[in-house]
């Protein structure tokens, strides 16, 4: 239980090579094996360790958890939090909740697309940022809000984008 939560939020080094990462994911799966309905929690942790969930990794998880690949893939493709594509070092989520939308989030997205030269859902060529939009992140009092990794930036204006990105 505590394992999953630590893995979800920690920033520690999860090993550098693919083998190390797979080994770590394997260990984690074994710890979860007897818990009912833990697939989503395993996928969370696996994505935290590996960065994203490519088909190879889904196969590995399916085999190790003794589940059909179709079930694992079905879950991965259902939830927007899981990504099957490689992600940038940092993920920018522009909140598109009602409050942020009303206060100009759409313009902010366009300005970020211009600035980073990528469309929503894509990774910058230097693999530094993934640009994404989010459903309400619950920071409506601070609209328009942008979440970079776990940091929420308040009342971001197109003119403030540079200052925000510089922090990463």
């Amino acid at each position: 239980m505590s394992l999953s939560l630590e893995n979800l939020t920690c920033n520690c080094d999860h090993g550098s090579t693919d083998e190390e990462k797979y080994a770590l994911i394997g260990q984690m799966i074994d710890a979860y094996k007897d818990k009912e309905g833990s697939l989503i929690q395993v996928l969370h942790a696996a994505q935290e360790i590996y960065g994203y969930l490519p088909l190879e990794l889904q196969k590995f998880i399916a085999l190790r958890m003794n589940k059909p690949l179709s079930e694992v893939n079905g879950v991965v493709s259902f939830y927007s939090f899981f990504s099957t594509k490689e992600r940038g070092e940092h993920t920018i989520h522009v909140c598109m909740g009602t409050a942020c939308y009303v206060r100009g989030a759409q313009k902010l997205v366009e300005a970020l697309e211009d600035k980073l030269g990528v469309a929503v859902g894509e990774v910058t060529p230097d693999k530094k940022f993934t640009l994404d939009v989010a459903r309400c992140i619950g920071a409506c009092g601070l609209a328009p809000a942008v979440m970079v990794d776990n940091d929420v930036h308040r009342q971001v204006q197109p003119s403030g984008i540079d200052a925000m990105l510089k922090q990463y």
Partner: protein, 622 residues
Amino acid sequence: MAKINDKYDLSRIKYNYRSEMGRYEHHIYFCAGAGCISCGCADVARGVKESLDELGLNDKVKMIETGCIGLCSLGPVMLVMPERIFYVGLSPKNIGKVIKTHFVDGQIAKNYCYQDLKTKEYIPCIDDIPFYKDQVRIALQGCGTTEFDKIEAYIATGGYATLHKAITEMTPQEVIDEVKNSVLRGRGGGGFPTGVKWQAGHDAVADQKYIVCNADEGDPGAFMDRSIIEGTPHKLIEGIILGGYAIGATKGYVYIRAEYPIAVNRLSKAIDQARAMGLLDEPLFGTDFQFSLEIRIGAGAFVCGEETSLMESIEGHRGEPRQKPPLPFQAGLFGKPTIINNVETFANIPYIIKHGAEGYTRYGRVGAHGTKVFALAGDIVNAGIIEVPIGMPMRNIIENIGGGLIGGKEFKAAQVGGPSGGCITAADIDVPMDYSELIAKGAMMGSGGLIAMSTDTCMVDTARFFMDFVQDESCGKCVACRIGTKRMLEILQRITKGEGKKDDIDRLLELGAVVKDTAMCGLGQTAPNPILSTIRYFRDEYEAHIFDHRCPAGRCQALTVFEIDPQTCIGCTRCKKHCPTLAITGELKHAHVVDPALCIGCGACYSSCPVDAIHPTKREEN
């Protein structure tokens, strides 16, 4: 940590914490809610510590990090006790001065207090601020006034004593009766009476039952549950254990959004503390009852806020709804009887058990007692979290508590109940905020998101926004929702582009009725509400888009160009600088002009103009 075995242990912890705190003359309640955290409150907190060190005040003043104090738009904020002086808009730069003025000079640093925008007066005492004056805090009690990360702090406010009372002195049926008599209704959206639900859970016979807390707060514009979890995680835990005791469940789950990492973190820490003190996973207070609680983290699917989808997700599957019946209390999680309640509902339980149903029914009105937490957002001055007695007129919330609209703009409508709800117009602003009254107006209480919109908002575009959201979040299991929302979105998209057809309004009404009647779960059944409600109240706006190709609010880009009033324009050049298409020309100190052929109707000039010289107008067709 020592285990808690009886009420004397609770009293001891309470006494120790209080005497520890009593050593200080002043306490600073420093808001560490998610809103303030994102305004950089960590740096300010460090500033407070440094100032206290520097000025040698550490024996006199104690800083406590608390959950959300409520006025999120003015963060970072802090409350100085016992004087109850409230400081807002703090920064690493001004904090040293505030601390020195208040604690060394013994004066109120007035300029850093709340300022009433209408009277320009500074209001130092929190109780005098209109935002707080009319509030009644039950679900939010302790949020903003207790240390969220110490179980001792919660116990010192009487926490877990209610649990002790219930488990040692009351039968499960007595607990349920108390909740029934309080007429508490579900605070997550449905509004089903909690006591009735618990009775069904209690009466179900099974070897295992579950109680689930729905913390998948996905409505755009709603952040009440998040504030409760972050501010008083132990109150939620106590409420869930009480629910478990009442229905006879020994295991509980909290299903929480992955988008709320701070809330997940604080709640899991609180669960660990409760476990270490023997309140979870062990027989409670020497009785046979024991309870375990686990967090399950969602993965970004709005539909998982629907109870049957939520159970699917906890089981590790795709979060698609189940056919009802069987209802969750008959066969829910893992096929066992399951009771699911919302965070705010659970947060009311300790109060109800402690003060009895009479204590709770003092507030609110017949049929819907108690209080409701709302998240105020949108074009409103005091955005944040509030809790008011049910039945308070919306005008009071918007004008007094919310402080009116930003920039003194005119109120047009409020979206109540998120994407499942509807709008309340300026004509109905005196509507009491009550389940049945809101439904009569075509909106619903929902989970409590309240988004104020000014006359700058286009209602067709708002409906399109919500439909875009719902369509994207539709899980695709049933045809009505999967295809119905898609078709409705397409119609709205073409209307906002000026390509609407003459029978589009009728088509939306017909489709809306079908989706409402035939969708499988709550998401689809309520999805057409924003459309139906905006057509009901703003049919003229739809018609303006369809027949005149005009967006009255000037929001729909394809239909709008901006023009500058040469009499009002002061020639500051600001609009020219902001225009992304170089459509604006003019010299400094001379009136500027927009070239309609180049204008894309983005409104960048409109929002940059300091003198309101720019206005949207209809795009002429060539």
